[in-house]
Symmetry: C2
Subunit: 142 residues, 2 copies
DNA sequence: TTTTATTTTGCAAGTAACTTGCAAATATAA
DNA sequence: TTATATTTGCAAGTTACTTGCAAAATAAAA
């Protein structure tokens, strides 16, 4: 991701432009799958402190730049919000697809869910879907 | 839950029948929503050690008696498997419904999902769905 | 552009949520 | 009812974060 793009994004949220923030945003933007703290640490090992990376992740979540993905793993995973999700009031639902081969988690937009009939007397307001299977990349290899 | 029922369940899995196991199973059976370690601890505080409760939870997950529910919270939540889920080969998908008022998580069976169109080249094998909204109980009160 | 105010960072220490090792207690098998 | 195997309690350990505080970096004001 171009530095000018990350800077613009930070400025919009009235967040100070710093090196960690630029670099973490850039890493998120270069992947099309979700990242954990350890994924980020791998790339930023020597440059920044553990606490700084955690604090940056938290700042990004609070400012609607990334979202946490509910998986059964102990460590939290995060992915960039799509443009549609940036406005909290019009958050678009999407599917998280976990590949059982590479263990990567992708955000899939444009998945159509029709006719979800939930038990009566339960009022449905939003949905989070975790799909499991084989991703396009792993499917092509095998 | 009757003690004879919990004993039968444990015997089927070739697990030794112990007091913690009976009591934890019984607590799960008395609720229709998911429980965390802290929910269990509240009831079993004085009787059993922390490590014992955690070990019992893990034993139950390994033996397909309960399942972990993927939520964004830091602490794991667990619920009893339904009879249909007991056989690992015919695990039935169901929805987890998180009530935004009481924060309880219910397993809803019999939810019909039609026509989920996922991106091509992603091979879908299973689905986990976390619904949010208002449960029957909280809906009735308000 | 320099000064001032505010926020962010690094380091070390702290906390929450579990897990493990080991000897004693308990459950099942012989 | 003794022998074998598993489970439990206690204490210590680990993992995944979080917090306090002084120093450094960023942005706003002059």
């Amino acid at each position: 991701m171009k530095e000018s793009t990350t800077k613009k994004l930070l400025k919009e949220r009235k967040l100070r432009i710093t090196t960690v923030r630029n670099e973490i945003l850039s890493i998120f933007n270069d992947r099309n799958y979700a990242l954990s703290f350890y994924d980020l640490e791998k790339e930023l090992k020597t440059k920044f402190d553990t606490a700084t990376i955690y604090r940056t992740i938290n700042t990004f979540v609070e400012n609607n730049i990334i979202h946490q993905i509910p998986l059964e793993s102990k460590t939290a995973y995060y992915a960039l919000n799509s443009v549609l999700e940036e406005d909290e009031n019009s958050r678009k639902e999407h599917i998280h697809f976990l590949c059982r081969i590479c263990r990567r988690t992708y955000c899939l937009e444009n998945v159509i869910i029709k006719d979800l009939k939930i038990n009566k007397n339960f009022r449905l307001e939003s949905l989070k879907i975790i799909a499991e299977g084989v991703c396009d990349n792993c499917g092509a290899i095998s």
